[in-house]
């Protein structure tokens, strides 16, 4: 059974999780975005709200084509729960159902968080997110909390070993991805070689979000409401998250606003430091900003490849692949030869 309404198995599971004698999904609406995951807004009548009315939640499950990756939904849920316990603004995790029989795939249940997330709109529309300096400080504070998470043994097992050298690992991963794509990209190789030569030595390692950028958090008219997209979280150099957030390629139409196209880098850093974040090393952050362009370029190529290979024909994927060409030009400007002896 895959439907969300008129599904007695789902209703029974929801009653258990919500601690209600009975529960019933009275409406389900698919939310936009997510080719790999489906997000559904569901309205649940649990009859317990003392007149407050039905409860609105989000069900997040893998799209039918990607059920093989369902284990990552459980991992993602464990991360969101750890973040929630650490005081990070995330949708309140309510339960995880590993049984694929209930709605056709394992799924997570979370509280519905109101807000807008679309990056280009958030950067363009200054009415969103409240005071922008305050929003930048809050985003810095949230990131410091993420970096302070100390995983319990179960989450630790999910996250695996800490990398000995995150910068070298990031360069090697991009090269592996390029090799797997099979089309030589000498311009990207040039920039990767420079990244390898300039890589910072190993330093502190923390839990990192790995996709902390404008477009992956929600805001309402007053400010931040939730940090989303936890599926890439991993052990790494905490400066990698600061670099990803500030990288020029994630500022959309406002490259002059160094903190994610939202505001000043100084405000973002001030919030991070204020909340007890790690020591900020500007050179290290700058290196991760270069690396952000490389990582995004290779991910864009992978998306384009999904279209070109026939795995998933999609105009959106085809055009995303070409973003790598814009990024490659930026990267070559960032890595012009220095005066040196050959």
């Amino acid at each position: 059974m895959t439907q969300l309404t008129e599904n007695p198995h789902l209703d029974a599971w929801l009653a258990g999780v919500l601690n209600a004698p009975a529960a019933r999904v009275i409406a389900a609406e698919k939310l936009s975005g997510g080719a790999i995951q489906e997000n559904w807004s569901v309205t649940i009548d649990a009859g317990l709200d003392g007149g407050a009315g039905p409860r609105r939640c989000v069900i997040r499950r893998d799209a039918p084509a990607t059920i093989a990756a369902s284990r990552s939904r459980a991992q993602e849920y464990a991360l969101i729960r750890a973040a929630h316990e650490a005081g990070v603004k995330v949708p309140t995790p309510l339960g995880f159902c590993a049984d694929p029989q209930v709605i056709g795939a394992p799924f997570a249940l979370m509280a519905l968080v109101p807000g807008t997330g679309y990056g280009p709109r958030l950067v363009r529309d200054a009415q969103l997110g409240g005071d922008r300096a305050a929003l930048c400080r809050e985003l810095g504070r949230q990131l410091a909390r993420i970096h302070a998470i100390r995983p319990d043994p179960r989450l630790d097992a999910i996250l695996g070993d800490r990398p000995a050298d995150p910068a070298a690992a990031a360069v090697a991963l991009c090269r592996d991805w390029l090799d797997a794509l099979g089309t030589p990209r000498p311009g990207l190789e040039w920039a990767l070689r420079r990244a390898q030569r300039d890589a910072p030595p190993p330093g502190g390692i923390t839990l990192t979000h790995q996709d902390y950028r404008t477009g992956n958090f929600l805001v309402d008219a007053r400010g931040l409401t939730a940090i989303l997209d936890w599926e890439f979280a991993a052990w790494s150099d905490p400066m990698s998250d600061l670099g990803w957030f500030c990288a020029r390629c994630w500022r959309f139409s406002r490259p002059d606003r160094e903190a994610g196209g939202i505001g000043d880098r100084a405000d973002f850093y001030a919030g991070y430091i204020d909340e007890g974040g790690q020591d900020i090393d500007p050179a290290r952050v700058a290196w991760w900003e270069l690396m952000a362009h490389l990582r995004w370029a290779v991910i864009a190529l992978q998306q384009g490849h999904r279209h070109a290979s026939g795995e998933e024909r999609s105009l959106h994927l085809a055009l995303t692949g070409r973003i790598a060409d814009t990024l490659e030009l930026d990267l070559l400007h960032m890595t012009a030869p220095r005066m040196e002896v050959r």
Binding site: I323, L329, L332, P337, E340
Partner: protein, 113 residues
């Protein structure tokens, strides 16, 4: 040389999608019409610069293994050739994102070859 009338046809098709169709649609359908207009405009630019891009890529003259192994570290001439090819590809992908300096060598009048 590329048939200029064929490029015009693509221009007109993209314009119809963007100005006539997308403007009359909403939501997902409007998004799809704009995406299609963008795809046609991209293909049009790719065709217009294809001969020059092919020449630029053919002139790079360095394999990726050598770059990776550091045999071209500091090679300003190679960097210049990579930049030339990258400008043309970036122009195809998103001409608006290019600086005037990057854009100038890609402009239309130089298509005739």
């Amino acid at each position: 040389m590329t048939d200029p009338a064929a490029l015009d046809l693509l221009d007109d098709t993209a314009r119809v999608l963007r100005e006539d169709l997308a403007a009359a649609l909403t939501g997902e359908q409007r998004y799809q019409a704009l995406l299609a207009a963008n795809a046609i405009a991209t293909a049009r630019r790719a065709i217009a610069v294809s001969a020059r891009l092919q020449a630029a890529e053919g002139a790079i003259g360095a394999d990726v293994a050598a770059i990776r192994a550091g045999r071209h570290d500091g090679d300003a001439a190679l960097h210049g050739r990579l930049l030339h090819a990258a400008r043309l590809r970036a122009f195809v992908a998103d001409p608006v994102a290019l600086s005037p300096e990057d854009r100038a060598p890609c402009e239309e009048s130089r298509d005739a070859s």
